[in-house]
Amino acid sequence: TSPLLVIHGGAGVERKDLSPPEEKAARAALQAALLKGHAALAAGRPALDAVTAAITVLEDDPTFNAGKGAVFTHDGRNELDASLMDGATQAAGAVAGVQRVRNPIQLAQRVMQKSPHVMMVGQGAEAFAVEQGIALVDPSYFRTDKRWQQLQRALKEEAGGQAHADLETARHFG
């Protein structure tokens, strides 16, 4: 079979929200994620490793709403979720509501491969991460000013009963 990798960095992108430098940075990050995932496939590694490798690059890039650069909750925290699934075995792993795991997709893969469970949440998932030797990071690692300002705008809009100024601060879009 001819290996193939497809990625996304999130829908809801609006031209007016993207400056030329931001657009350039986003395209570069997507390209880096593709090359990283492709390297795994070209080395004969399984699709699962390519997925984890590509998503790790995107989690580490502050452009996207995952890992570093995640949006903020009402309380000013970053709550991260991730899941992955292996089509060959239908094994699956997922974590939700973690706040100190740098790469949630890698923890989801550990849940799949090193535990009898599919999904773990919150502090329990973080305790499992520590048991697996995954170092926890300070929550400030995830912070970017762009997302912090988005939260302030959303809070102001909410207080004023306004409709949301843009899709990313809209009630439903992450």
């Binding site: 193939l4 984890t52 899941s83 060959a88």
Partner: protein, 135 residues
């Protein structure tokens, strides 16, 4: 939200999704990304990663629904992705996108917003990237 679907040299598929959730969310709200069958699904024929208004991806079991249409109706990734992402979900009031990959190497990247960060790379190792619907 970010995601990936991959087909390896053995013909096996995998899917993954990761997210920071939504701005200003409360009460420990969880969207579709960590929910197998909603934001992420992979089986022997099909792999999907979704991004959008999570509540609607959960209620339609969107990732599994796309793969079920391919399995039971023999639809292509394009047809199944369009049916769920561009028809079923908007009809309920939601929006967003997804990436879909089949074991015979067909891919689709349906979305119903102005843009979606997306990319693909094949055996030739040449990366392709797009953002807006016009690309």
């Amino acid at each position: 939200t970010v995601g990936a679907v991959a087909l390896d040299a053995q013909g096996h598929l995998a899917a993954g999704t990761s997210t920071g959730g939504m701005t200003n969310k409360r009460y420990g709200r969880v969207g579709d990304s960590p929910i197998i069958g909603a934001g992420t699904w992979a089986d022997a024929r099909c792999a999907v990663s979704g991004t959008g208004w999570g509540e609607y991806y959960i209620r339609t079991a969107a990732a599994h629904e796309i793969c079920a249409r391919m399995r039971y109706l023999g639809q292509t990734p394009e047809q199944a992705g369009k049916g769920v992402i561009n028809e079923a979900i908007p009809q309920m009031g939601g929006d967003g996108g997804a990436i879909v990959l089949s074991a015979d190497g067909k891919a689709a990247t349906p979305f119903n917003t102005q843009g979606m960060y997306r990319g693909w790379i094949g055996a030739d190792g040449v990366p392709h990237v797009a953002i807006f619907a016009s690309e």
